[in-house]
């Protein structure tokens, strides 16, 4: 079981993802360069956070055309797992791996903060280590995380259990005050139609050790390990 972590020019969470996988989870990881044409036999691809290609044009718009993304899309089409975090989520939307788009935060501010997420679906390969309705603490750090999609897409996501994480307040409810970036329906993370691509704005790889504020993200990586090993 091997994780492949893609480094684009401007990625800045690739080392954090490596740390989460290798030191947190105890699994193997390998860096994949954006110019690579093969995925070196990895089982799970991580598209990490950062500002790939300076976020020029739109966040994720240019990274989508990197040589490695052709391989990542083919991997996903074969049913391979892709964990797309923050800028990775933006790249996944731009490349059509996930529906919708991530726009400028409603308050126009870059928000770097701990958030509370409610696990809406614990029957995905990424969230088997959680329980449905569980509240987890995972940080965000982004300026463009306002999830937006057309009504039909939102209806399909909601109807098929593809909204995986939602921003919630201390009461555990997805109210307006908890909606840090103004996302539709407080959406923080979604699943692809095939269930093998997870996109999320919060950073589970930055929450794998209570010393750093939260260990709640580790279960996400553990979920993947169980799945692939099974």
């Amino acid at each position: 079981m091997k994780f492949g972590i893609v480094t684009f020019p401007g990625s800045n969470c690739d080392y954090d993802a490596y740390h989460a996988v290798v030191d947190g989870l105890g699994a193997d990881a390998e860096y994949l360069w954006h110019k690579d044409h093969d995925l070196k036999g990895v089982d799970v691809v991580v598209l990490p956070g950062g500002f790939s290609y300076g976020d020029y044009l739109r966040a994720g718009a240019i990274a989508r055309f990197s040589p490695v993304m052709r391989e990542v899309v083919a991997h996903a089409e074969r049913g391979g797992k892709v964990l797309a975090i923050c800028n990775g989520f933006q790249i996944a939307c731009e490349s059509g791996l996930l529906p919708g788009a991530l726009l400028r935060n409603a308050e126009l501010k870059f928000v770097c903060a701990m958030t509370r997420l409610r696990v809406e679906n614990a029957e995905t390969p990424f969230t088997r280590g959680y329980e449905r309705g569980q509240i987890v603490r995972i940080p965000i750090a982004h300026g463009e995380g306002r999830y937006t999609a057309d009504d039909e897409t939102i209806r399909r996501l909601e109807g098929n259990g593809r909204v995986v994480f939602r921003y919630v307040g201390t009461t555990g409810e997805p109210d307006a005050a908890a909606n840090v970036n103004g996302s539709m329906r407080n959406i923080a993370g979604i699943l692809s139609e095939g269930g093998n691509v997870l996109g999320m704005m919060p950073h589970p790889e930055r929450a794998v050790d209570p010393l750093l504020g939260s260990g709640d993200g580790l279960a996400l990586f553990e979920s993947l390990l169980e799945r692939v090993a099974a």
């Binding site: 718009a61 919708g100 726009l103 400028r104 409603a106 126009l108 937006t148 999609a149 103004g182």
Partner: protein, 92 residues
Amino acid sequence: MTLYRAAVHVIPRRGLLDPQGKAVADALRTLGFQGVLSARVGRHVVLELEAADERAAEQSVRQMCERLLANPVTEDFEVASLEAAGEPAGRR
């Protein structure tokens, strides 16, 4: 081949929240422009391209917008201008 200059406007789709446009409209009203009803902030892209004729140039620019310059989920685009700018340099 002929050299063309094109300008493209990419604008947040009407009906979607455009917080940047809203902030600009609010600021304009604060300045005293009470008549401002709304603003939307987009992107203006100026292109130079070679094409066989104007039709081919426009088709090409539209494809660029659809595939990269605009996000079809959230943005609309319009080709604001397109004009021949003479023979490409170095190919006379």
